[in-house]
């Protein structure tokens, strides 16, 4: 039996880890980007960020004080047994958010959009967001938290099939240039592109592509995988580095996720996951054991299925 307490403990711990420890895949990614960076100012920025990751881990303090909008992705195995029902899980996640906000501390960013009132704990109406996914055969629950800033670096556009790859390239350039200037999107970033679905799915897919896949991971469709690499190169050929300075470091990686869409359209979203790409995952096993990792493993073959049923 997976208890609510276990879920809350694990969620509290991943809140702390996400805020403080840079995921290793991103660290390796940024180091290899730094090797190719020829410009002095851009190189200085990246070196400072690498020092900052070390300071965060040593001092156990957040890498970035804008600890974003903390949120959760929960994947529940078909055979997982847990108490308190789904609302019990949601209560545990909200409680972990409030406690971690005080203890880590995270910045209490969340306010009412109109009245600007707040509870100083990142909990409120529709926050933290919780997205759900399921996994056949599994008896565990995976909880991932992502702390991503919320102001810059994301855009959506309805393209049409005739706009083709050119349309995708133009929109990617538009987005990276507009938010890359002065470094508002905190590049070099993991860029996520959502293609297809309906408008809301498209936004969700792009965000998940940026935040829930690790540097170096490729889409299982070989043609999409090729496009990921091509578009990453396009991003890095803009001539822009961190803070919008002259440089070659815009994207540490680029991920594309797709969803079946309206036959007349090709909606696209672009998201950038920042220099402090903050994510952490806990797997809570049926026996109560908790394993921590930085790869969310969100996009399982089941999650990306295109059939009615599912047989592995």
């Amino acid at each position: 039996m997976i208890t609510n307490k276990l879920i809350e403990d694990a969620s509290y711990e991943i809140m702390r880890r996400a805020a403080i420890d840079i995921p290793e895949d991103y660290l390796n990614g940024i180091k290899s980007v730094a090797k190719n960076e020829k410009e002095q100012l851009s190189s200085f920025v990246i070196e400072s960020m690498i020092e900052n990751y070390e300071a965060a881990t040593e001092d156990r303090r957040p890498m970035c004080a804008d600890t974003g909008l903390p949120r959760y992705y929960v994947k529940v195995g078909d055979k997982a047994v847990f108490d308190g029902g789904f609302t019990g899980i949601e209560r545990a996640l909200r409680s972990a958010t409030a406690r971690a906000t005080h203890d880590v501390p995270l910045r209490p960013n969340r306010v009412h959009p109109l009245w600007r009132t707040e509870h100083n704990n990142n909990v409120g109406i529709n926050s933290p967001e919780v997205e759900w996914s399921f996994e056949p055969e599994a008896d565990w629950i995976d909880i991932t938290t992502v702390h991503k800033g919320g102001l810059f670096g994301t855009d959506y556009r309805m393209l049409f099939p005739g706009d083709g790859i050119d349309g995708i390239k133009r929109f990617l350039l538009d987005t990276l240039i507009s938010f890359g200037k002065r470094g508002l999107c905190c590049q070099p970033a993991i860029v996520g592109i959502g293609l297809g679905g309906s408008k809301d799915t498209c936004m969700q897919l792009g965000k998940q592509a940026a935040c829930l896949r690790v540097v170096g991971d490729r889409n299982p469709d070989p043609e999409i995988a090729k496009l990921e690499l091509e578009l990453m190169e396009l991003g890095n050929s803009i001539g822009m580095g961190p803070m919008g300075f002259v440089g070659s470091s815009m994207a540490v990686d680029l991920h594309i996720e797709v969803g079946y869409t309206h036959t007349g359209g090709m909606p696209i979203s672009v998201h950038t996951f920042c220099l402090s790409s903050r994510r952490a995952t806990a797997r809570i096993h049926a026996n109560g054991e908790i394993e921590y990792r930085t790869d969310p493993k969100w996009f399982t073959p089941y999650h990306r299925r295109d059939t009615i049923g599912w047989e592995e």
Partner: protein, 220 residues
Amino acid sequence: MLNKVSLDLPASPEAIAELQLGSIVYLNGIVYTAREGVYDRILNGGDKLPEGLRSSSNVNFHCSPAAAPQADGSFHIGGVTATASFRFSKYLADWLDMTQTKILIGKGGLTEKDYKEILAPRGAVYLTTVGYGTGALLGRGVAGVEAVHWLDELGIAQAMWMFRVKDFGPFLVDSDLEGNSLFAQQGQLVNENIESLYEGLKEPALHRYGETRDRKDELM
């Protein structure tokens, strides 16, 4: 190599005059945070400046710290990161006049026009945080909280925090007393390449407002 400078605060006019675009700066002394919440209360709401602000600090940091109140009334400061400054442009002339602030620190700078028309004539310069943001390195540089104002009214993110800082940085000098801007200079260099990126890419079928500013235009 980039030039590195350590500044004692309040910063003297001579020290500010010597700052060069692209130099790396570390600060020692008192720095205060203020953003739209504080600006509105004082410039539009009639609240008074905290006593002694002018004499103790001439550095305004556009920042919301990750801070937590402790049981004994003190504060635990974790990370410290700037917020984007361009949004506060409209307050700054009055604010600099009222507070005699000479250094603004934030994310992403202001326009060169603001430097030439608002900051430089008042003997003020802009430092940008690096990254963004080096929250842990800056958090290390905060030696203590001297005072916090309007915490109940504005909350942790918008309150005015008075930080005692030591080796607080790194920052990069974005503007000088002539109103030049490092971001603008770098941006112009980046712009030289931009047209070529779009060469050969066909226009999308449906346009958007923003691509044309005339709302009477058809977008197809």
